[in-house]
């Protein structure tokens, strides 16, 4: 539905006022958090004048930003890789093959969505301890990947289904087996789907709070969200709001940048869903 297209330029003024106002409301907290992180505040490293003192506090806290950011990066990269590999293979099978148990397996994958995080984290905490994977970044990445599977598998399935069959058939006539068809012919056509799945897996892993909170007790293994949440009460119960907002900015920056860079891909990835229903 096209809203307001038939109106004249004058008649569109309320539209611009409304949408402009909404845009300001949506941007304001983001801009404010950056402002709060560099503005002077008593009892912080940035007590007078504007500057990056709070970032220094953040940098030195706990295991130190290099370690913490590396932990976050390792969890995120592993999650993206695991999610992409499993959902690409699975999505291809669900879209293009018929085999016994296919519908049941697909439904089972989607049903992960219905299970609370906490329900699985408690037994997984016990299981990972038993497997010697406690305090392991790999364990956390595997866990987060599992929760990505419903969305990722669904997205890859509809992406593969949207490819015309002729493309695949001509590849097979040329003697490609199913894997080289997938690798050389199909993958380039599902790039928007891959980017969407990869981006959402990255955002989920980079930002996940609950899984590391429970599965990682070693301070040297903590990723950013848990560290920044812990940092709030460092000096005798006085909350360091400035350093907290600096932590928010550091956490948000890679996400915002990736989100803006990849926007055209994931909007297209979502639109594939529109065509297939």
């Amino acid at each position: 539905m096209i809203v307001g297209q038939q109106h004249s330029a004058l008649g569109r003024t309320p539209y611009y006022v409304l949408t402009g106002g909404l845009a300001i409301i949506f941007l304001f907290p983001l801009v404010w958090s950056f402002y709060a992180s560099i503005s002077p505040q008593a009892n912080t490293a940035q007590s007078s004048g504007f500057g990056f003192g709070n970032y220094q506090t953040m940098f030195d806290f706990g295991a130190g930003l290099p370690v913490v950011a590396t932990n976050s990066a390792v969890i995120s990269i592993l999650t993206v890789a695991i999610t992409l590999i499993i959902s690409t293979l699975g999505g291809y099978a669900f879209a293009r093959f018929r085999f016994w148990g296919k519908d049941a397996l697909f439904l089972l994958t989607l049903s992960i969505l219905m299970v609370p995080y906490a329900t699985l984290l408690i037994p997984l905490y016990v299981m990972l301890n038993a497997l010697g994977l406690s305090n392991s970044l790999v364990g956390v990445a595997l866990m987060i990947s599992m929760f990505q599977l419903p969305f990722a598998t669904y997205m890859m399935r509809i992406s593969f289904e949207a490819i015309p069959r002729e493309l695949e058939e001509s590849a097979q006539i040329d003697g490609c087996n199913s894997f080289s068809t997938l690798w050389r012919i199909m993958l380039p056509s599902v790039v928007p789907g891959l980017v969407t799945v990869g981006l959402f897996a990255f955002l989920a892993a980079w930002n996940d709070f609950f899984a590391p909170l429970i599965l990682l007790t070693d301070p040297l293994k903590q990723p950013l969200p848990v560290t920044v949440a812990n940092m709030r009460q460092q000096t005798m119960g006085v909350i360091n709001y400035g350093a907290t907002e600096a932590g928010v900015v550091i956490m948000a920056l890679p996400c915002v940048i990736l989100f803006l860079l990849l926007q055209r891909y994931y909007v297209r990835g979502f639109m594939t869903g529109a065509i297939k229903g």
Binding site: G4, T19, S33, L113, I122, L124, V256
Partner: protein, 309 residues
């Protein structure tokens, strides 16, 4: 969905049959990683949590033997449990109504193919890229009397005498957290509903406008009914997400004031890692799982049922 193998099976039965079987096996092989993952990280923990819920199971002591139905009975005596259920339901209704309403509103506002609406779409999507924990930490400062940006200008204008206590009362904390969540997720629901809106053919609106329909009539008689499947999906996602709320309250309110903002998942967390009783935490998890599955089945049924009229 007819696959190649199926379409050609009839031609030369014997050879085609073995090829069909081969293709089945190949298809199945591609799902083996999914299958392994689901068995190890989904089905095994589910069985394990069910088993744990039947035993006395300490965080440090491990399994101390079968004690059914003690863990389940103790849920009823848990003083946090019923208030947390009521609080979670209030939060879920509030968030779902506001998110779907605002998401649909934003989707309608960015429908036009102009540069301005592309800018708007990006702006509304930006908070989606933040994690819930990051957004909650942002709000922790935003709502604080120490550095929050809302109160100082109001105080300067003489409208208020003291900084607003955004998290001071149970209701204020609920509304402030809802505002945070709506701000963070509105763009996502806008995107989902935009996809739904684009699936509605323009011809319908053209035909309606020839008949002299007003924009409001278009919205009620064309947009809403045809958007129902997308709205159904959005509702299910939103209700499930809200019922399982944890990060935002864990970071923002920690249950304060007076344990009045404790959600169901927070009760599970406290039971497991503060009271160190994995058995009762497992029983709570199973209960939450059953309720969630029932609610989702009801929603599916309701939305399917109304789909046909």
């Amino acid at each position: 969905m007819t696959s190649i193998s199926e379409a050609t099976t009839a031609e030369r039965p014997a050879r085609r049959f073995s090829q069909g079987l081969r293709r089945q096996l190949v298809g199945f092989a591609y799902t083996i990683p999914t299958l392994i993952f689901i068995v190890i990280f989904f089905l095994t923990p589910l069985v394990l949590v069910a088993k744990m819920s039947l035993s006395k199971y300490g965080l440090l002591t491990g399994d101390e033997g079968f004690n059914f139905p003690k863990n389940y009975v103790s849920i009823w005596r848990n003083q946090l449990f019923w208030p947390s259920v009521w609080f979670t339901v209030q939060y879920t209704v509030l968030v779902t109504v506001m998110l779907l309403g605002l998401g649909l509103g934003l989707a309608l506002l960015v429908q036009t193919v102009t540069r301005w609406s592309a800018v708007l779409r990006t702006v509304f999507l930006l908070p989606v890229s933040l994690g819930l924990a990051a957004a909650s930490l942002l709000a922790y400062g935003f709502y604080s009397p120490a550095i929050g940006p809302i109160s100082p200008p109001l105080e300067a204008l003489g409208l208020i005498d003291n900084p607003i206590a955004f998290l001071g009362t149970s209701l204020a904390a609920l509304l402030s957290t809802t505002f945070l969540v709506v701000w963070k997720f509105a763009g996502f629901y806008m995107l989902v509903l935009t996809v739904g809106l684009q699936g509605i053919s323009d011809d319908l609106y053209e035909a309606a406008s020839l008949d002299g329909a007003t924009p409001w009539q278009n919205f009620v008689h064309i947009t809403l009914p045809l958007l129902r499947p997308t709205l159904a999906l959005a509702t299910i996602l939103c209700v499930t997400g809200s019922l399982l709320a944890f990060d935002q309250f864990f970071i923002l309110t920690k249950g304060a004031p007076d344990n009045s903002t404790v959600t169901a998942v927070q009760v599970i967390y406290r039971e497991a890692f503060q009271r160190q009783n994995l058995g009762t935490a497992a029983a709570l998890s199973i209960l939450v799982l059953i309720v969630l599955v029932l609610i989702n089945l009801l929603q599916f049924r309701f939305l399917r049922g109304t789909d046909r009229d």
